[in-house]
């Protein structure tokens, strides 16, 4: 390994002790600096986002459970300062990167993180490390969903939880591509928020006429694909309202209740339900396509795919920081800033 870090050095990190999701579950610890093995790089972290997937992970409800204790966090940005054996890692040394943590290794909520080399994406000169901290999870998902809808020939789409960060990215992307998008939110204030952002079709699922409004609009626009972050009863409502041959892609589960699927809808109306998991989707792409999408997303991250940030907080805020995000998720990202950055 190329050695840019002093022996005996330590770092601060947020360590998950258990999946109980209590203030004691997530602790600020001092750890020795890790060394990257073959295929891994050491990233001096600058920023690390808190995402809805982190909240699920802290509760033990994410698709991956890691052996405890483990450093939390899936996403972040920083500078590669060392690499284990392997050409891919060596090429990254010195580069500013956006990165995603490994599926079984320590995460990004730390001053340094060991990351699989293939999960580091060098940042273009246009992007700051602050922007890089939330480049991957939300923008790539938004791009991936809209790309799927357009490339599969759906005339229009529906999305739930449309006021979320990712939802608003989809609103802006759909405008960029003049692609009709029906936005579903739960509150009147969110209706106004999205209208102010230029969304043409916004429905409030709390109104009595929601089911018939949705049906009418979906049939009129031929909205045959839906991006659903809510799940539970919402998924069934979508499938019922949408035209025959429609597909609902579930990428989030804000509602913990199970999805109920009416057999008749699947068999006679040719309706399809599928998941969307970024890690699976990304690994299904060939490298050239992934690089092309990566470059597009980096460009759009300054515009349609920009993320609003409500606060930068130090690692020492610990569980309080997580709570701050949980209390006001639509107000913007809460982002860890390392090494005393603001």
């Amino acid at each position: 390994m190329s050695d840019a870090t002093p022996a005996g050095a330590t770092m601060q990190a947020l360590e998950l002790r258990d999946y109980a999701d209590t203030p004691e579950s997530l602790r600020l610890v001092e750890r020795p600096l890790p060394k990257p093995a073959a295929g891994y790089v050491l990233v001096r972290m600058a920023y690390a986002a808190i995402n809805p997937s982190d909240l699920l992970f802290l509760r033990g409800e994410y698709g991956i459970k890691k052996k405890l204790p483990v450093i939390a966090g899936f996403e972040g940005s920083g500078t590669v300062v060392a690499a284990g054996p392997g050409w891919r890692g060596r090429l990254l040394v010195g580069r500013r990167v956006a990165c995603l943590a490994g599926d079984a290794t320590d995460g990004t909520w730390a001053e340094y993180a060991v990351i699989p080399a293939e999960r580091c994406f060098p940042l273009s000169d246009q992007l700051t490390l602050e922007q890089g901290a939330h480049l991957l999870v939300n923008p790539l998902t938004a791009w991936g969903l809209l790309h799927t809808a357009r490339s599969q020939g759906h005339a229009a789409a529906i999305q739930t939880a449309a006021a979320s960060q990712l939802g608003r990215m989809l609103v802006r992307l759909s405008e960029r591509f003049s692609y009709p998008l029906i936005n579903i939110v739960r509150r009147q204030a969110q209706v106004e928020l999205l209208r102010a952002q230029g969304a043409a079709y916004v429905l409030n699922s709390s109104t009595p006429s929601f089911a018939s409004d949705l049906r009418e609009l979906a049939q009129e626009l031929r909205a045959t694909v839906a991006f659903d972050a809510v799940a539970g009863a919402m998924t069934g409502q979508l499938l019922t309202a949408m035209p025959n041959h429609s597909r609902v892609i579930v990428y989030g589960a804000l509602d913990a209740a199970p999805i109920q699927l009416d057999a008749q809808r699947l068999v006679f109306e040719d309706k399809t339900l599928s998941g969307f998991w970024l890690a699976e989707w990304a690994t299904s792409l060939r490298l050239p396509e992934l690089l092309r999408i990566g470059s597009t997303v980096q460009h759009l991250a300054q515009f349609e795919l920009a993320t609003s940030v409500q606060a930068h907080i130090p690692l020492s805020a610990g569980y309080q920081g997580v709570q701050q995000y949980r209390a006001s998720m639509t107000a913007g990202k809460v982002v860890w800033a390392m090494h005393g950055a603001e």
Binding site: A253, I259, L261, V267, T272, W277
Partner: protein
């Protein structure tokens, strides 16, 4: 002639009756077929209940498969003659009666290898099995597929097709005592839904973690238990409504790229070209003719015995297809 009919949608035992209706006359381009056997498919019973994707105008004659003998042909019909044994292709409606008039394109000659009873239940199930396995799931040699209701007629069709095509069937059954029979019929493994953990049993049988391909006729609790055990890129195809209960799936779907969808034979006919349909019929027809595929009869009931037929059709543990036969013809 006699016909099993219904004037309102409802429970088959309550709304189906045997009635006398006029015998149809063939037009110049039609064939009059004297039916000797008709299958009882779940879709026939759902149609009577009003829960199927097609609701006929009432009153209606039930049934949509059958086999028999050409009685008479219209003046323009040249490819069939009286006395020919024929099978009615799926898509005809109202076969639970003595005579039907059909265009020649809706008929196939019955191969000598099949009895009329077998011919009457050959197409809906075997065609569905063939399309699901080879078109929808593209099953490869030695690839395992989970087939629910493995002891059903379609489950048996899938086992016969697997022997021919080389894919492997892991069948689910409701009770453990049905296990040995399906293993004898060539199943790679059998999972009893009343006692086995589906995910563990699948892993033990196939050595694979997570179920990649599923053909489900049941829905409800069985289908939902399978959804919990899907692999990240699984395909789950629902083609039946046996449990009459919805499928349930939890939030774990978001940690996968799994696809859950339905299959309906009626739509397949609508969406495929006539050339493609003819080619599939040709390939399956050959497998009937050479004995590779061999429809299995559970029991036969006379056209008059509606209550016996309905009771058996809804009873668990059937060994194959329920067939409506008769009526007995006077010796000529």
């Amino acid at each position: 002639m006699k016909a099993i009919r219904f004037h309102q949608f409802g429970a088959p035992a309550q709304v189906l009756t045997v009635e006398d209706i006029p015998q149809p006359e063939p037009a110049a381009d039609e064939v009059l077929v004297r039916l000797t056997a008709r299958s009882v498919n779940p879709s026939d019973l759902y149609t009577v209940m009003g829960t199927y994707g097609i609701r006929p105008k009432l009153p209606a004659t039930a049934g949509n498969e059958g086999a028999g003998v050409v009685e008479r042909v219209g003046a323009d019909v040249t490819n069939f003659k009286p006395g020919d044994r024929v099978t009615v292709l799926p898509g005809a409606t109202g076969t639970w009666c003595e005579y039907v008039t059909l265009k020649p394109a809706a008929l196939l000659p019955t191969p000598p290898s099949l009895s009329d009873e077998q011919a009457a239940c050959a197409w809906v199930n075997y065609l569905t099995a063939w399309i699901l396995a080879l078109e929808e799931l593209d099953l490869q040699a030695d690839e395992p597929v989970l087939v629910t209701a493995g002891a059903s007629h379609l489950g048996r069709a899938m086992l016969q097709l697997a022997q021919h095509s080389g894919f492997k069937v892991v069948a689910t059954v409701r009770r453990a005592e049905q296990r040995q029979e399906l293993l004898d019929a060539g199943a790679l493994g059998v999972i009893a839904t009343d006692s086995d953990d589906i995910a563990k049993a699948w892993h033990a049988i196939t050595g694979r973690k997570g179920i990649h391909k599923v053909i489900d006729a049941v829905g409800g609790a069985t289908g939902s238990a399978i959804l919990e055990a899907l692999a990240p890129r699984a395909t789950f195809i629902l083609y039946g409504l046996m449990s009459q209960q919805p499928l349930q799936i939890g939030g774990q779907l978001i940690f996968s790229e799994a696809v859950i969808r339905g299959f309906w034979l009626v739509r397949w006919f609508q969406q495929r070209t006539p050339e493609h349909v003819a080619s599939v019929f040709g390939q399956i027809g050959q497998l009937f003719a050479n004995g590779t595929l061999n429809p299995v009869i559970d029991s036969t009931f006379d056209l008059d015995d509606v209550s016996g037929m309905v009771e058996r059709s809804l009873a668990p543990g059937r060994q194959g297809k329920v067939i409506i036969t008769g009526p007995q013809q006077p010796a000529s």
